[in-house]
Symmetry: C2
Subunit: 570 residues, 2 copies
C-alpha cells in the first residue's frame, strides 16, 4: 500500500446540491432559504440556546484567540453592549501592511483551487456559522443593540442567506464560461485553424471589508463571501463597536480553510482601536483591490474618490420614502408602518424616514385623513404597538451609540413634533438606552433642507405636500439626488401605483406597494429581493446580483495550437 495521503474533506461534494439550489433560487426568486430563521430548539437542537449563550459569556472579559493570525500584540477592548455593560474582549493586533501582506501571500493556492472548491469551502463556512447562530445572536445583540430574536434572525440565518446568495452568484458567474474549449475555424483551403483554449477565473486581489456597527454580519457577509468565492483573500475590518460577530466569523472561516488545506490567512481580522483609524490606510494600500463598505456617505464618497486602485462597493445613507395616496386598510397601513418605524428603533438602513402625504388628506376606508390626522394616528399606532414594555423592548432593541441619541435630541427641535420619542425601561437590562420613534410634521416646500438629509435612528417625518403628484415629484427628485434603499407607496388607484412604479424606476429605487400585513418595507428576503439598486446615490452595490460579483474577478485565457495528433483534420 502506498503512503497514506491525508484526506481533505470534499466540501464541494458535500454542498453541491445546496449550491445548485441556491443558483436556481436566484433565478426563480421565490421564497427559499436553507437556514431556518426560527431560534427554536426544534430546529437547532435542545442545547443550542444554552451552548450559544455560554460560548458568548465565555468570550466576555477574555482575549479572542485566532491561531496563526499575523501581527503582534493586542487591541484593547473597544466594545460596550448597548444593553449597558462592557464586553471587555481583546483581539489580536495586526498592522495594515502585515495584514495585506499575509493575505496576499495566501492568495496563490486559493486562486488555483478554482470556483468549485472555493464555493464548497464558502458553503461549509456558512454551515458552521449557521450552527453557531445562537452565539452569533448574542454577539450581535450586545454590539448592535438589536433585540435577541432580531439579532438571531438578521445576524444569523438571514445574514447567512445573503452570504450564500453571494456565493451562488459568484460561483455561477465564474462558471459562465467553460474552463476549456477547442476553437476550429474553417479555412477556404486546407484544414481548419484549431486552437485549444483555457479560461481561468482569477481574483482581483486582496479584498477589504469595512463593516458597520448596526449590521456587522448581514451587511458584511455579501462582500466577504463574494470576494472569497471569486478567489480573493479578505481582510475583515470590523467597526470597533461591533467586532465580536465578525471575529467569530473569521475564526470559523479560518478553521474551515485550514481543514481544507488552505492558508487560514485567506481571511484576516483587522481589529483596531477607534483612534487607529486604519480603514483609510487599508483603503489606499496598492494591494487592496476590492473594498466593500457600509456606513456614512462621507466616508463612502471618500473611498469612491480616493481608493482608485480598488473596485469599491458602498452602501451609504439615503432618504427612504413612503408616498401616501389612499388606502382601503387604514388600520393595517398604520400598524404596518408603526412596526417598520419601531423595528430596531429605526436604526436600519431600510427604515422609512420621509412620509409624503397630501396636506388635505388621503382617502381611506375610515374617511379622509389629512396630513395632521395621519401624523396623529401614526403616533397613536406607535403608542399602541409600544405600550407593553416587554414587547416594546423586543421590538425596539437598544440605541447603538451616542450619535443616534444626539440626533434624536436634535430632531426634537425640528418641524412640529407630533409624537415625542420616549424612553422605555428594559425589563432585563436597566442600563439599556431604549427609545421610541419621534414623529415630526414638516412642510414639503419649507422644510426641504431638513428632510433631504438622513436622520439615522428613530426619527420619522410626516411631510405634507400639495398633492400625490407633488409627492411623487419630491420622491423622484430627492431620491435621485440623495439616494434611498427603500421606497413604498400606498394607493388604491392603479394609475397612482403605475405612476409610483415609473417614479421609482426614474429614481432608481425598489418599491413596496400597499404593505398592510406581515411584510414590512424594511425587510428584504435573500434570493428574492435585491437590497440596494446601485442606481441611486445610496448604494453602488445590491447584495447581490451579477454586477456585485463580476468586478471581483477576471477570466484569463491562454490558447495554443491543437497538437497535430489530436487534430480531427490532421
Amino acid at each position: 500500500m502506498p503512503n497514506e495521503i491525508p484526506q481533505r474533506p470534499d466540501f464541494f461534494a458535500r454542498h453541491r446540491l445546496l449550491l445548485d439550489q441556491a443558483v436556481a433560487a436566484t433565478s426563480s426568486r421565490d421564497y427559499w432559504t436553507p437556514y431556518p430563521e426560527s431560534p427554536s430548539t426544534k430546529v437547532y437542537g435542545d442545547d443550542a440556546p444554552k451552548n450559544g449563550e455560554t460560548a458568548f459569556r465565555d468570550r466576555i472579559g477574555n482575549h479572542f484567540e485566532l491561531p496563526g493570525h499575523p501581527g503582534n500584540g493586542v487591541v484593547p477592548a473597544t466594545e460596550t453592549s448597548p444593553y449597558g455593560f462592557p464586553l471587555d474582549i481583546t483581539y489580536p493586533r495586526v498592522r495594515p501592511d502585515e495584514a495585506v501582506a499575509a493575505a496576499k501571500a495566501a492568495t496563490g493556492p486559493w486562486r488555483d483551487a478554482g470556483p468549485d472548491t472555493r464555493a464548497g469551502v464558502a458553503a461549509e463556512i456558512l454551515a458552521r456559522l449557521n450552527a453557531a447562530s445562537f452565539e452569533i445572536a448574542h454577539a450581535v445583540q450586545h454590539t448592535t443593540g438589536q433585540a435577541f430574536v432580531m439579532a438571531f434572525q438578521a445576524g444569523g440565518p438571514h445574514a447567512q442567506d445573503r452570504g450564500l446568495e453571494a456565493v451562488a452568484y459568484a460561483w455561477a458567474e465564474q462558471k459562465r464560461h467553460p474552463s476549456a474549449a477547442r476553437w476550429s475555424k474553417p479555412q477556404r483551403k486546407g484544414g481548419p485553424l484549431e486552437l485549444d483554449k483555457k479560461f481561468t477565473p482569477v481574483g482581483r486581489g486582496v479584498a477589504l471589508l469595512i463593516a458597520c456597527n448596526t449590521f456587522p454580519t448581514w451587511n458584511g457577509y455579501p462582500g466577504l463571501f463574494a470576494s472569497l468565492a471569486t478567489g480573493n483573500p479578505v481582510v475583515v475590518k470590523p467597526h470597533p463597536g461591533a467586532v465580536l460577530p465578525l471575529a467569530i466569523t473569521v475564526l470559523i472561516a479560518r478553521e474551515v480553510l485550514t481543514e481544507a488545506g488552505f492558508d487560514p490567512n485567506v481571511v484576516i481580522l483587522a481589529a483596531e482601536s477607534p483612534e487607529d483609524r486604519t480603514a483609510s490606510v487599508y483603503a489606499l494600500h496598492q494591494d487592496v483591490r476590492i473594498i466593500d463598505f457600509t456606513g456614512s456617505t462621507e466616508f463612502g464618497d471618500w473611498l469612491e474618490t480616493n481608493a482608485r486602485q480598488a473596485a469599491v462597493y458602498t452602501e451609504k445613507a439615503g432618504l427612504n420614502t413612503v408616498v401616501l395616496d389612499s388606502t382601503d386598510d387604514y388600520r393595517g397601513l398604520l400598524g404596518n408602518l408603526a412596526f417598520s418605524l419601531s423595528l430596531f428603533s429605526g436604526q436600519m438602513c431600510t427604515t422609512p424616514q420621509n412620509l409624503l402625504i397630501p396636506r388635505d388628506g388621503i382617502a381611506t376606508d375610515q374617511g379622509t385623513k389629512s396630513a395632521d390626522d395621519f401624523a396623529t394616528d401614526l403616533g397613536a399606532a406607535l403608542d399602541r404597538l409600544l405600550s407593553d414594555p416587554v414587547r416594546a423592548a423586543g421590538t425596539l432593541g437598544a440605541i447603538v451609540n451616542g450619535g443616534v441619541r444626539e440626533r434624536l435630541e436634535e430632531a426634537a427641535g425640528v418641524g412640529r413634533t407630533v409624537r415625542v420619542s420616549t424612553s422605555v425601561e428594559h425589563p432585563e437590562h436597566p442600563d439599556a438606552v431604549v427609545r421610541t420613534p419621534l414623529v415630526a410634521l414638516l412642510d414639503a416646500e419649507a422644510d426641504r433642507g431638513t428632510y433631504t438629509r438622513e436622520w439615522f435612528g428613530p426619527v420619522t417625518f410626516v411631510i405634507s405636500t400639495e398633492s400625490t403628484k407633488r409627492s411623487l415629484e419630491i420622491f423622484r427628485e430627492t431620491v435621485r439626488e440623495h439616494g434611498a434603499l427603500t421606497a413604498a407607496v400606498h394607493s388604491t388607484s392603479a394609475e397612482v401605483l403605475a405612476a409610483a412604479e415609473l417614479a421609482s424606476l426614474d429614481a432608481g429605487v425598489h418599491l413596496s406597494e400597499n404593505l398592510t400585513g406581515g411584510v414590512f418595507v424594511n425587510q428584504s428576503a435573500a434570493f428574492s429581493d435585491f437590497h440596494g439598486s446601485a442606481a441611486n446615490p445610496a448604494a453602488s452595490a445590491t447584495l447581490s446580483d451579477p454586477a456585485f460579483v463580476t468586478g471581483r474577478f477576471a477570466t484569463l485565457q491562454s490558447r495554443r495550437p491543437v497538437p497535430a495528433e489530436e487534430s480531427a483534420h490532421a
Copy 2:
C-alpha cells in the same frame, strides 16, 4: 374592419434565433460568426463591392446628413485619408448640452421597450451594418490607414461580431432574473405571506462612446451595443480623424430606431473639430452615466479619475510582450511574428512590442539562436515578408497620422537598430505614408526605461535577458505595472509553458502559446477570445463579458401583496 394600426417590424422575432445562437456561442467559445469575413461577391452579392465603393465616393466632398439630428450648423471637414487625399466631408454640429439633452429625452420608451425589443433592434442595426460592409470598409481604410481587406474584415464583419457579442451578453444578463415572480413564505400559523414581484432592467443613463482613430468600429461597437441593448441612449463621439465609419453607423442605427418606432436620438453623432475638444466636456456632464473610451493612457486615466458620475470602461496603452524560450519551428515562429509586427504597420493595440529573449540564446530546430541572431533573423523575415511592394502595402496599410511617424523617427535613436524602418511606395496611392517595422535590440536591465512605455506603431524591441526565468519576471512585473492587451510565449518545455501561464495569471493578461501558423497573437475572435482582461492597467474592459454589461443597468424591483382572490391560500 377597424382602422389599421401601422405595423412596426418585429425585429426581435426576426433575429431571435441569431440571438439565441450568439448567447450559446459566448458559452461554448468555439468558432462562430454570422457575418462572413470574406469580401467576396459570392457572399455579399455581385454588386456589393461596386455599390459600396460608389456610396463611399458619393460621400466625399459632401455634407453628411442625419435627418432629425439635434443641433445646428456644420462641423468643417476634419478627415484626411492616410492614403493621401482629404475626404472633405462635413457633419452636423451639436453642442454637448444639446446632444445629452436630446439623448436623455429619447430614453423613456427605449427603457420601457424591454430587453427583447432592444436586442431585436440592435441585431437589425448589425444586419444592416453587415450589408453596408463594403462602404464601411472604404470609410475605415481612408480614415485609419488599414489596407482594404483588413478594413473590410476588422472594420466590418469582425466589428459586427463584437457588437453582436455585446448584445448577446447584455440580453442574457438582463434576462438573468425573471420579469415577475410570486414569493410565498410559509408561516408557522395561518397561510403563507405572499407577494407579487416585478423586476425591470433599467439603463444607467446617457452613454458616451469616445472612439479612436485606428479602429473606430471594432473598438467602438462593443460599448455602443452594450449600452444600447441595456436601455441607454448613446452619444457617439468619433475621433476627428475617423468620423465617417461611425457616422454611417449612426445613420443606420437611427434609421432602424425610427422604423421600430423609437426616437432616433437614442443614437447621436457628436462630430467635432479637433480644437473643440468636447470629449472632456461630455465626460463631466452629470447626465452622462456610462463612458466607453479607447485611446491614450493619459486621457483614459483622466476619465477614470474625473468622470466620477459615470461607469467608465477604458482601453489604453500597454506593453504587449513575447517571451522566447525555445521552439521546434524557428522558421514558423519568425514568419508568424513578422506578420504580427507588420499587420497594419504595428498600429494595433494588440501588436507585440517587447520580445524578451535570453542573451545567450534559445534552442531551436535550427540550433541555438542568440538574442543577436534572433534580431537579425527577425529582420530578415520581415524583409522576406515585405519584399513585394503590392503584398507589403496590403499588409502594412498606411501610417495613420504624424504622431506615429514621429515616434518611429524617435525609435531610430534607441538601442541598437537591427532593422531600419523603410518606406514602401504604395502601388495605387503614391501619397500614402507606408512604413515597415523597425527592430531594435535592447538590454533588459539597462534599457528598462525605454521599453516600459508604449511605442505605438511599427516599433519592435528585441530585449536580451539573462534567462527565460528573468524574461518571465520582467514580463510579470512590466505588465502588472504598465498593462498589456496581448502576450505570447514560445517554448518546447511544458514546464516553461506552465510557468508562463502562471505569470500571465499574475500579470492579468491573456496568453498565446507557440503560434507558428495561421493564427496571430494580435487577432482575437469574438465569441471565443476575450479582448482585454480588465486585470491589468491596459484596459478596464474586455469587449465583452458579463462584467462589461452588468454595470450598464440596474434591475429594479417592485412588490405588492397578492390579491386575496388570487392567493392559493385565501
